[in-house]
Symmetry: C2
């Protein structure tokens, strides 16, 4: 944790700041190891100066924070000691003027309120977590293994008449029974629903029609670290048209992987946008529409984080990064296929972390 804190504090000199105000739950967890704060409302702040680290939270959490958080001094927010007063004291005692804030997390309302006390500079600190250490890679690996186990388990549950929601429920149940959490609500799409890249699992039943698409997109979370994987299987025999779609998506993913591996060997990194382009063009060349989303995304404490594999990304893929590669073809009114895996780069080699079969499965 100390290394991480010091790494964040490098921003102070780099951006000529007196302090950093950290608000995102992920960066709070990353720097303190404490992940009990609840997302929808602002329940805590970290305040890092050259000489000190403070954690600001209220009576609901102060007991736990005292017990579990090291390296940070607790400043308790209460009716008698509101956040306004805490900020005023910090200005006075530590002569804080210029403060870096997480601009993608801080709200406009908070900005208005806090900028009364400090001169605020918007920063994007999300890329600070893009290079994972061995422990983080191990946790993501464990999350991926649990995902693979879940995929084997769920294949047996795909039976005539079952609904998307029931499959989603079963996936969640299995993951939790095995000590994990879901990293997002499972996205299960049958038949033409598979044409909707973010279809919400609903009441659609699987039916006897041959070769119905069954798109399964789900992830697990182990000790805060996420996995993410998509498989598309067929209920009944896949038609020639379906097989061609499947193989085209599969090939696009393979081409992207091979491209990244070659680039890593050649120059020690890969431009994320170039990897995106390889997969995208491979699909377009076969006569399909372009992928209506990015090719992939970094993953860690958040399901989607730095780097981005998209046409306009400026990111470079390099050692320590963990990310998805997930091409897809979606045909409105017909269906769709997406194949998604997670990968890590280690010593300039790309290694796949999710290991469920990508053979065309007919159930």
């Amino acid at each position: 944790m100390k290394k991480r804190i010091n790494d964040f504090k490098k921003q102070l000199n780099k951006r000529k700041l007196d302090a950093l105000l950290i608000t995102s739950l992920q960066n709070i967890a990353y720097l303190t190891g404490f992940s009990d704060f609840y997302g929808p409302e602002r329940e805590a702040f970290l305040f890092l100066t050259r000489g000190n680290q403070f954690i600001l939270t209220d009576g609901r959490y102060s007991e736990s924070v005292r017990k579990l958080v090291q390296n940070f001094e607790l400043l308790e927010i209460s009716y008698d000691n509101p956040i306004e007063k805490i900020f005023k004291d910090l200005v006075r005692k530590l002569k804080i003027k210029k403060v870096g804030v997480e601009e993608k997390d801080l709200t406009f309302a908070e900005h208005k309120r806090i900028s009364k006390h400090f001169n605020l500079i918007g920063l994007d600190l999300s890329d600070k977590r893009s290079i994972k250490d061995a422990k983080e890679i191990e946790l993501i690996g464990r999350a991926c293994k649990l995902g693979d186990k879940t995929f084997s388990y769920i294949l047996d549950k795909i039976k005539q008449g079952i609904t998307e929601k029931q499959i989603a429920f079963d996936i969640e149940f299995f993951i939790k029974k095995n000590g994990g959490e879901v990293s997002f609500p499972p996205l299960i799409a049958f038949g033409e629903n598979a044409a909707i890249p973010h279809h919400k699992s609903g009441e659609t039943k699987i039916d006897q029609k041959n070769g119905q698409f069954v798109l399964l997109d789900f992830g697990t979370k182990v000790d805060g670290y996420c996995s993410d994987m998509t498989r598309t299987v067929f209920f009944g025999k896949a038609s020639q048209k379906q097989k061609k779609i499947y193989n085209t998506v599969y090939e696009a993913q393979q081409r992207a992987i091979a491209f990244i591996a070659r680039e890593l060997e050649r120059k020690g990194f890969t431009e994320a946008a170039s990897a995106d382009k390889v997969a995208r063009e491979s699909i377009i060349k076969k006569g399909y529409a372009t992928i209506p989303h990015s090719l992939g995304h970094g993953i860690g404490l958040e399901v989607h984080e730095h780097p981005r594999l998209s046409p306009k990304s400026k990111d470079k893929l390099k050692s320590g990064m963990v990310f998805s590669i997930e091409p897809g073809i979606y045909i409105p009114g017909f269906g769709g296929v997406r194949i998604e895996d997670l990968f890590v780069i280690e010593e300039n080699k790309i290694r796949q972390l999710t290991n469920s079969s990508k053979a065309l499965i007919e159930i």
Copy 2:
């Protein structure tokens, strides 16, 4: 939905605006009926002008939006038609200059980007949902009933050796099996963990010690509408000290309810801060510390929404509002009790929506 849209548009004249930019998932669901957007990332915007309503989203959702969203024209965000271009077009075609934004939802980074196109005015629109219609009250009522059913079910599961996490898992499983969702991760606290108002369910096991606190705080969600309830029961025989705490919390809640009922009858509303004060003082008078949180909160599409029952609240409780009353006593190193129920005000009468027993339960 049309009534709701028109109600929101009243802000245009009131605040002299050309448009409203709606970003919060709850307000998007409230105005469109579409609730499939996923929280952690910005996936959609609503743009309301005097004459038009637009929904801005990308290819992952456009299929579903076309199918399910009425009253809104879809402007699809894509690589060729990025959000910047859409905003530029809106400025040009509709001569939009001044735009109201949800200041508690829009991020600082979004504000920087969007304010290049429009003059932005921060608004808090969350109170627009505080008066519920009959359909909304019915849905919250159904969520509360499912909560009551869950409480009966879970009492039988509290057995020697079970962990907080297992109870939380069982609650979630039961709610989902019965067609609901959890409105937040169940907060289960055994023994001295009950002294932490927002304790995260962990590996603590229930043990043979007499009279262990078992605090159960959980909520369900039915068609997007939330319930929220807390009960504290005892594993083994409660001691005199525990009974006194329990009865003091119970009495504080009863006093607050009676106060609200009297004020409603007398003048048709109740100051939320006064209700908070009644419960708070009733606890302090018995020699306990003040409640380290608000007495209660409004609830609906969000677990916590307008109105607030807190010492500094300016809100008035009145017909159509649904909110919690949840006093608590927390003694570090010993344990705690919270009792929470939901209430609705209808025709100046207060009615309790959660109906699980509040008798002191020893298991």
